[in-house]
Structure formats: structure tokens, C-alpha cells
């Protein structure tokens, strides 16, 4: 019996879940995620956090973070406009749903709309790289932000837009409990899609463009096509995230889709790990959970120090900055890399070489 992993075929080496144990663990995770909502209320009361709400937000953001990770992590194109692309998705859902479009039509439309906008703003990527592309996409952020705020006839301006609840075949996702399953399905779908995409010809082309675009072009990768495609797919995913978010919060306003959200998305994939599917998931969990966790000591201590919540509120932003810097210095490959180290350690424990 082999005491390690010995693959005899490439296909086996490339398998998503190479070992039986991993498959079992994944099934366990799947079951845990599926039955979680029934225990959410008890756990929420225990922890003083609205867990179901937290999980829903995490699942929605995972879809979007996967999108940005595809663009930045896999294709190496930075974008500071993904916050606005998410807004495009959200507003598309908002407007179409108010026109009476059903959920199953409005949500893909949100993705397509965001993809179209993303591809237009992705065109400069042909000529621009790095810092210059960051500035070009930032322009997209500001233009779209301005449109969302001032195109009052379409977006409702600063008063925002009310979105009806998502409904599928007569089933209304009108509570956090019901919405969880919808969000879970989309998060799982996006995860599988990204994982599989990275193993296809297209995925390899993306990575080639990232690693050395000149060589990629020499071996026959059409740079323009793949860069724009990456922008398109990436914006599609973040647009879907925006659409889901609109259906979940049911009120959209421009102040959510600012530069800050774009930076947050970038921070998520940096903290989690760029170019790693697991990375975007870890990053989202970390970044969404952190502010909620910070609320607990603040709330517990208000009895003694009544004004402490104000301090904790500012602390959130401060901590956010510190964490991103710390990750860039100490763990540039993100939480995903740390996860692999920890797993490797336990796998061989206590008989590590």
C-alpha cells in the first residue's frame, strides 16, 4: 500500500478531488452547509451575530470575488471598477424587476449587462497594464458611480430603488432562511465554474497572459480576445453577485457601490490568495466576518463604557488597512497558502519528515 499520493495518470493528478478522503470531507461540508440554516437561529442567539445574514452576504460576495479573482488572480489584469460593475448588476435587476421581469430572466440580464459594461471598460487593457490599467478601471468606477447617483430617472438617484423579492416558480425567497439556499446554489455554481475554467484551454490561456504576455502571444494566444473575455466573464460574475445582492437587501442605493467596494473586493482576493479558488472563499469569509466579530466586544462593553461603539466603528477601517498590509508582508499568497501549509502539517502529523 502506498504511503502517499502516487498518481499514474495525468487525469488523476488533475482531478478536483484527488483522494477519497477529500471527497468525503467535501460531502460532509456540503451536508453541513445544507442543514446549517435549521441551526442558524440557535447559533445566532448563542453568538449574538445574525449568522444567516452573515452567511448570505458571504455567499453573495463569493460569487463576486471569484469574478475578480478570475480577472486579477488568473489573468493578471487589475480592476478597480468591480464595485461599480456589481452596481450595474444590482441596478439592472432593480430596474428590470420593477418592470415586472421574473427573477430567472432579470438575474442573467444583470450578469450580461455587467459583462457588457465590463468589456467596454476592459478595452484599454489591450494597451495598458499594471498601474495604468488600475487608473483606467478606476475611471470606470467614477463614471458609473456618477451615473448611478445622477441618472435619477433610471436609478432613483440618492433615494435608491426598491427591489421586489426574488420569486422562482411561485416560491418566494422572502426570508434570510429561504434566500440562503439560493445564494448557496449560486456560490457553489460559481466555485465549480471557476475551478473547471482554470483547467480548460481558456483557463490556461488566461494564466499564460498573466505570467508573460509576450510569450503567450508568441505561442499563439490572442491577447485581445482573452483579456476582453476575462473582463467579460469576470464582470458577468460580479454582476450576478450584484443582482443577488439587490434581491437580498431589496433596497439599492449608489452609496454601496463606491470605490470602497472595489478596494474591498481587491482586499478579499489579496487576503484570501490570488489565483486560487479557495483563496476567494477564504478572503470573503474573512473580510465579511471581521466587522461582525468586532461588534461583539463593542456591544458587550457598552454597559461599562457607553461610548465604546464609536471607537470600534472607527477601529474597523483601521484594522482593515492593517490587515491588508500585514498580509502583503507576511503572507503574500494569502489565507489559501496558509491553509495548505496547515493541512500539509496535519496530514503527516505526528510523523513529518
Amino acid at each position: 500500500m502506498p504511503c502517499g499520493l502516487f498518481f499514474e495518470k495525468y487525469a488523476k493528478d488533475e482531478a478536483i478531488f484527488p483522494t477519497l478522503w477529500l471527497k468525503l470531507w467535501m460531502v460532509a461540508l456540503g451536508v453541513a452547509l445544507l442543514i446549517f440554516p435549521w441551526f442558524a437561529q440557535i447559533l445566532s442567539d448563542l453568538m449574538g451575530i445574525n449568522l444567516l445574514n452573515l452567511f448570505n452576504l458571504i455567499l453573495i460576495y463569493i460569487v463576486g470575488a471569484h469574478g475578480l479573482n478570475l480577472l486579477t488572480g488568473y489573468t493578471g489584469q487589475i480592476s478597480l471598477g468591480h464595485g461599480a460593475f456589481m452596481g450595474v448588476g444590482a441596478y439592472t435587476v432593480g430596474i428590470l424587476a420593477n418592470l415586472g421581469w421574473p427573477f430567472w430572466l432579470a438575474l442573467p440580464a444583470a450578469g450580461l449587462m455587467a459583462a457588457a459594461v465590463g468589456m467596454i471598460f476592459g478595452i484599454p487593457s489591450l494597451r495598458l497594464r499594471g498601474l495604468y490599467l488600475a487608473i483606467a478601471t478606476m475611471a470606470a468606477q467614477f463614471i458609473l458611480d456618477y451615473a448611478m447617483r445622477n441618472w435619477t430617472a433610471l436609478t432613483g438617484g440618492s433615494s435608491g430603488l426598491t427591489v421586489p423579492q426574488a420569486e422562482l416558480a411561485g416560491f418566494s425567497f422572502d426570508s434570510d432562511f429561504r434566500f440562503y439556499f439560493l445564494a448557496l446554489a449560486f456560490a457553489a455554481g460559481a466555485t465549480m465554474y471557476l475551478k473547471n475554467l482554470s483547467r480548460t484551454r481558456t483557463g490556461r490561456a488566461f494564466v499564460a497572459v498573466r505570467d508573460r504576455y509576450l510569450s503567450a502571444e508568441v505561442i499563439g494566444v490572442n491577447l485581445f480576445k482573452y483579456r476582453i473575455m476575462s473582463f467579460g466573464i469576470s464582470s458577468f460574475m460580479v454582476g450576478i453577485a450584484g443582482g443577488l445582492w439587490a434581491y437580498y437587501i431589496t433596497i439599492i442605493s449608489d452609496e454601496h457601490f463606491t470605490m470602497w467596494l472595489s478596494v474591498q473586493y481587491l482586499a478579499m482576493i489579496i487576503v484570501g490568495g490570488m489565483g486560487s479558488v479557495l483563496g476567494s472563499i477564504f478572503g470573503v469569509v474573512f473580510m465579511v466576518t471581521l466587522p461582525e466579530i468586532l461588534l461583539i466586544p463593542a456591544e458587550a462593553m457598552t454597559n461599562v463604557f457607553p461610548h465604546i461603539f464609536g471607537i470600534f466603528a472607527s477601529l474597523r477601517e483601521l484594522l482593515f488597512g492593517l490587515i491588508v498590509i500585514a498580509f502583503l508582508i507576511f503572507e503574500p499568497d494569502g489565507l489559501a497558502a496558509r491553509w495548505h501549509t496547515v493541512r500539509a502539517y496535519w496530514k503527516l502529523w505526528p510523523f513529518s519528515y
Partner: protein, 387 residues
Amino acid sequence: MSRKLLVTALAVALCLALAPLALAKEIKVGGIFDTTGPTSDVGKDYAAGAVAAEKYWNAKKVLGGDMIKLIPNDYAYKIPQAVTLYKKYKDVDRVFVIQGWGTGDTNALRPLVNKDKIVFLSASYDGNLTDPKKNPYNFFIGTSYSTGIRLALTFAKENKAKKVVFIYPDHPYGKNPIPAGKDYAKKLGLQIGPDEIVALNAIDATSQLLNMKKFDPDYAWIGGTTASTAVIIKDAAKLGLRTKFLVNCWGFDENLPRLAGKAADGRAFGMLVVAPFGANVPGMKDIMASAGGKSYSLHYVKAWVSMMVMVEGLKRAQKAGKLNGPGLKAALETIKDFNTGGLTAPITFTATDHRPNTACAIGGVKDGKVYIIKNVTFPRKKEYVGW
């Protein structure tokens, strides 16, 4: 050694924090405040006032054995953040009353509040919230913005104004009362100039004021908060405009002369829906005691009164044996000519009219101090319910 100290300190803090849990029943109150966002210039004092009022009423044992537990949280003036907090208060803390903040989020939460039957006391005095037919669970304690504008325009008319302009931030707080203001300005026969938009976090209003100068109004309404109001007034003084400014209740406080300096003297007039901090009225004694020597602005007083009215409602609801959302709503609607100790005009809520009152004071600035020019009252007409 220091480690030991730290552990002890933490343990003590934890014990203190958990101690009240062992006591009587708690009535949890959700708190949605802005202490870091664009309106934090006035939001900080408001939050401080609410927190201090909670302590005060609990020390007084006003609800017998039951304690009020305010859960204050910051939402940075972001509507989605307010929705998230609301969901937490509803599902985890299971509150039936919330102390809220801004116009945008209060309006956004209206459908949820009505569905979940949670009483929502806002710091937004948007006239839109005063119609119980549409918003049965929304309450607030100050003269509504639109009533404020009507009173301000009446004041301008009395001072021989012919032309007015509206300056406000592009935010529901700024925009919502403007139609009511324009409607009333027309009724008074005032000429209305083009609107100017000055953001809440503006640091310069020169271009807007130069634009306004072409119309040369006698009076201009400012629907912002204190920081942006100070910017407008300073720039107006710099440009030598003759226009005087009528400021909404969140833009006129003790900090305005401090921020605007001499420019505010005789140029800024504000709607004072509560007595200024430290004013000589009976209700102020407890507030000064609660502040413990610190000096706050009048927004502290607003929060105090909001909590006071809530406590009065809770008291009545408790007596009726209905300590829940609908019970508190019904109890609040029995409040008639409620005396706040001179902090505000007497407050009345009915089942058909949620306007707390229609009277306030108009303040001015002299020698760096806010003073009351006169008390004004708008007739409480049915036709103005809801806007």
C-alpha cells in the same frame, strides 16, 4: 506582572459587562447611529445623548424592574448597512423598538418596519413619515423638515424677503422637504431661484454661491448638516453676498459659530427644534447632570427627548400590559401635550397624525453664541399631514 494585570483587568471588564444580564427583564432597543459617516458631525453627539439617556432612565428604574438596553451601532450613513443592522436587531436581539437616524435609511426601512411591527423612532424629521396611514410605525420628536421650511419662509417673508433659493445636499435628507418648501414659497408669493447642490462633506461651496449670486436672493435655505453649513456661510462671507441663510435643524447648532467664526453672526438663522444644550429650561438639569461636565451640542438634547418619548410610551404600554410593537405604537398614540420640560414644544401623537408638534424656535448667532430670536408656530392643519 503586566500580563497578570491585563488578565485581571479583562476579567473585571467581562464581569462588569455581563453583570446586568443577571438582573431583571431587559427591553432591548436597537440603535442605528452615524458616528463615522458624512453626518457624523452631528451624529456623534446624538449617539452620545441616546446612550446617556438610557443610563439615566435605568438609574431611575422608570419601568419598575425592567431595564432598557440600548444597543448602539454605527452604520456610517449607508442604507444597506442600516438594513443589515435592522435584520440583526429583528432576528437576533428581537427588539420591538429602534432608535434610528437618517432620512434615506428610515424611508428605506419603512416597508420592513411596518411588516415586522417594530416602532421606529428616527432622527429624521422627514414630513413623509408623519402620515400613519402609510407609516403607522414611524415616529420622531422634532418639528418636521417641511414644517421647518414653511416656518423659515414665513420668517423670511416677515423680514421683507422677495427672492429665495434652496441649497441642499443630494441626499434624501436634503431633497425630501424641498417640494413642500417650494410649494409654500409660491403660496407666499416668493420668487424661487435655481437650486444649488452642496454635498454633506463639501469643503468648498464657492462655485455654487457664485451661481447663486446671479439670482441674488434675500434668503437661502440650507438643508445640510453643521459642517457643510459652516462651509457655505464662510464662503458667502468671503464673496461678500448679502444673502442670509435659513438652516435646517441639523445644520444649526453650538458648533456652527465655532466652525464659521464671525461669518455666522447675523447671517445664519436656524430652526431650533429643541432647546440648545445648557439652556435655562427645567428639563435641562438632568441632561447637564448626565453629560458630567462635558459640553455637547443640541443634538444630544434631541436624542435625549427621543429616548424620553420612547420611555413614556414604554411606561404606558407596560401599564396596558402590552410591551410589544403594536402595544408601544398604540401607547405612543395616546401621548397628548406631553411636557418635555421645555426641551421641545409639547408633543402630541394621534392615530391619524404623527407630527409631534408644529412649533419650534428660530435661532440666530451673536458674538459666537446661539440665541433664540423668537418662538414660532405653524397652524396644525390636516392638509399638511404626511408632507
